[in-house]
């Protein structure tokens, strides 16, 4: 018990920034959820959470303030499973007593909300898979499954590997490289933003036709979807009246999170990602979709090079390691980080597209699952962000939006459909009647 009281986790580099600038307009709270084939059995889920609680001490944490840095402190007891709130992804508050991972349930759905200060999409989906598997086992499903089959899905009886909570940014920091250039302010989706409401628009595409389309274009699925995202934003820009066009920013740039575990041999389940930001400059004229696709492909390839990524690590981690910066007391650090964000932060991007990739759960557990999905964090500045994941033979594209009008979603899916892809769209609105 004493050991647990003394246990704490320093924030990783991304978490330092996100914990500092999180607020109502950008809470950095995202939701992963799974829709099951049957209504959730609450006692079994509560027991699964209880069993996994000691296995993920670095996720069941709350944010605390020290003199120089914020840190994560493990919770004393597992969080209570709550009813799915009407408005997802609301701010958890700068210092939250409840913890930064919350588990919700309603009907067939188990949803986990994560603050980005504790983990990224990889850590989140790893936890959700572990939760679903343990939930099924509590119901008596898959108890005889060979542990080898469950490799990669943490089990409650396993001990916690310190590699799971290491700060990999610091591990792969190199002091030499020059920092990357900053982008000018970017165009964002025009229109008013809902204060509490959040709209989730899910598009599903069978993987096979999508893969063959992308193969034909010699691009990856992510590159293709980023190109669609940029082209949609360009359509919105073009549809603006001439006066508004003149006043709008001329760069369209989409942030694409890169899972650094695929580049560095890290097993961390905390944040370990950086961004590649393909962009077009509207001052160069109208871009055809083919041009955008080609440009995105090459920019992504360049951005994914280790030498490029290490420049970002240098920029981000360098400041954290600077002895002078370390001695600055926390309130001043928070103020400076907020200022940096206001000046060169989210303003440089028009939106983000996060592709989690294929989510795999072994049988017999997969038979209990209808689909996985995730809702990106609200971002008032950009308005709408896109999450992508695939389960079994279907790709799910989820647009989370606080924009009052649905024009962006309409244009985005219309463009996908225009590529002869069979898109099915489903929309859910949460909270707010704004």
């Amino acid at each position: 018990m004493r050991e647990r009281q003394e246990l704490f986790f320093p924030l990783d580099n991304s978490a330092i920034f996100m914990a500092a600038i999180a607020g109502r307009k950008g809470p950095f709270v995202y939701q992963f959820y799974v829709d099951l084939r049957h209504p959730v059995v609450l006692p079994a889920l509560e027991r699964a959470v209880e069993r996994l609680f000691p296995r993920f001490p670095y996720l069941f944490v709350r944010l605390r303030r020290g003199v120089f840095w914020q840190y994560l402190e493990p919770l004393d007891k597992p969080p209570q499973v709550e009813r799915l709130p009407p408005a997802p992804g609301l701010s958890m508050g700068s210092i939250s007593r409840k913890g930064l991972l919350r588990i919700y349930v309603r009907g067939h759905r188990i949803a986990c909300e994560f603050h980005h200060a504790i983990t990224d999409g990889t850590g989140a989906i790893t936890f959700l898979k572990a939760l679903v598997v343990e939930y099924c086992r509590q119901l008596g499903i898959g108890q005889e499954v060979d542990p080898q089959i469950l490799a990669g899905i943490p089990q409650p009886e396993e001990t916690v590997d310190p590699a799971e909570y290491e700060d990999s940014y610091n591990r792969y920091f190199r002091p030499g490289p020059p920092v990357p250039e900053t982008l000018p302010p970017a165009f964002v989706i025009p229109g008013w933003r809902m204060r509490f409401g959040y709209r989730e628009t899910i598009g599903t595409i069978p993987l096979e036709p999508l893969l063959s389309y992308c193969r034909g274009k010699k691009v990856s699925i992510t590159e293709f979807l980023v190109a669609v995202h940029i082209a949609t934003l360009q359509d919105l820009y073009t549809a603006l009246p001439a006066k508004k066009q003149r006043k709008s920013k001329k760069i369209i740039s989409v942030q694409v999170p890169v899972n650094l575990r695929k580049i560095y041999p890290s097993r961390t389940l905390r944040n370990f990602f950086l961004f590649v930001a393909p962009y077009i400059d509207l001052r160069l004229g109208f871009w055809s979709f083919e041009e955008i696709l080609k440009r995105v492909h090459h920019q992504m390839q360049l951005g994914l090079e280790e030498k490029e990524l290490v420049r970002q690590i240098k920029r981000n981690v360098g400041g954290e390691r600077n002895p002078f910066n370390r001695l600055v007391v926390l309130p001043i650090k928070l103020l400076v980080l907020k200022l940096i964000n206001a000046l060169i932060g989210v303003g440089s991007y028009s939106g983000s597209l996060s592709n989690i990739g294929s989510i795999e759960v072994p049988p017999p557990f997969d038979a209990e699952i209808e689909r996985f999905s995730f809702l990106t964090s609200r971002a008032h500045k950009t308005g709408a962000n896109i999450g992508v994941c695939s389960f079994k033979e279907t790709l799910y594209i989820i647009i989370g939006s606080t924009v009052g009008e649905v024009e962006f979603e309409r244009l985005f899916f219309r463009r996908l459909a225009s590529c002869s892809l069979p898109v099915t769209v489903l929309m859910e609105r949460y909270g707010g009647n704004e």
């Binding site: 003394e6 704490f8 209504p39 006692p43 303030r65 120089f68 402190e73 009907g107 509590q138 119901l139």
Partner: protein, 253 residues
């Protein structure tokens, strides 16, 4: 397995949950879990605490198994026995050496005062206001008895009574504030400092009124000037910084 179902949340809950633990609305009967599915066995609940399924096999666990109330009662019993022995021994020594009961009466009332102050709160732990109602009149009464043991009232009215009341007031206020604090830590020390300040200021006031005939504050002001800012710093550290954290966490560079 039979379960209940919450139509509002759309989830199955335990058969014993007549209201949904998520939304509080009434649940309905008729839920069933699929073939092959079962609910987890819940550990038995004993006296509000969960016990392990294997039972308690700790050979040293008897004392641990006692409830807090039982432990408090044992402390009261021990203190009563020791106090009784101390009273008897003191009286006997006084009788043996002086052949009468004289100084031992002071010791006797001292022990009674100690017994009251320690045991009444232990016995009436859940009823703090009854503790206050018993101790507040008891202590001035004991002080009064101390004064009249020599046959005349001398210091009780100018000093004994007001200082006892001041002590009680400081203790009750300090205890009250500590009691209502939700999260305890450095804030306890801050309240103790403020309580001590109140006591010092009051004490100097009582002494100056009796010796100089008017209120004069000198050393107690120095105490207040030292303790009040220190209490402020402790409150700040507790509520803004520490949150019960260790220094290793707080001052990590």
């Amino acid at each position: 397995m039979n379960l209940r179902y919450c139509p509002a949340c759309g989830v199955f809950v335990r058969a014993t949950d007549l209201q949904c633990p998520l939304c509080g609305k009434p649940t309905i009967e008729g839920g069933t879990v699929q073939e092959g599915e079962k609910l987890p066995e819940q550990p038995p609940i004993v006296s509000g605490r969960e016990v392990s399924a294997t039972g308690n096999s700790d050979p040293y666990g008897e004392m641990k198994n006692l409830s807090r109330g039982e432990k408090r009662f044992i402390v009261v019993e021990l203190l009563s026995v020791f106090s009784g022995i101390a009273v008897v021994v003191t009286l006997l020594v006084d009788l043996f050496t002086s052949h009468r009961i004289g100084w031992s009466l002071y010791a006797l009332f001292g022990i009674i005062a100690f017994w009251l102050m320690v045991n009444i709160p232990l016995l009436l732990y859940r009823h703090p206001w009854i503790v206050v109602a018993i101790l507040v009149p008891s202590l001035p009464l004991l002080v009064f008895i101390f004064d009249v043991l020599d046959g005349k009232i001398t210091w009780f009215l100018p000093f004994g009574f007001p200082i006892t009341i001041l002590t009680e007031l400081s203790l009750v206020l300090t205890g009250l504030f500590i009691g209502i604090m939700k999260r305890k830590g450095l804030n306890i020390f801050a309240v103790l400092l403020l309580g001590a300040t109140l006591f010092c200021v009051g004490l100097e006031g009582i002494l100056s009124l009796n010796f100089q005939g008017r209120l004069l504050f000198s050393w107690s002001v120095v105490v207040a000037l030292s303790c009040v800012p220190m209490a402020g710093i402790l409150f700040y550290l507790h509520y803004r910084i520490m949150h019960q954290a260790s220094l290793r966490k707080l001052f990590r560079l």
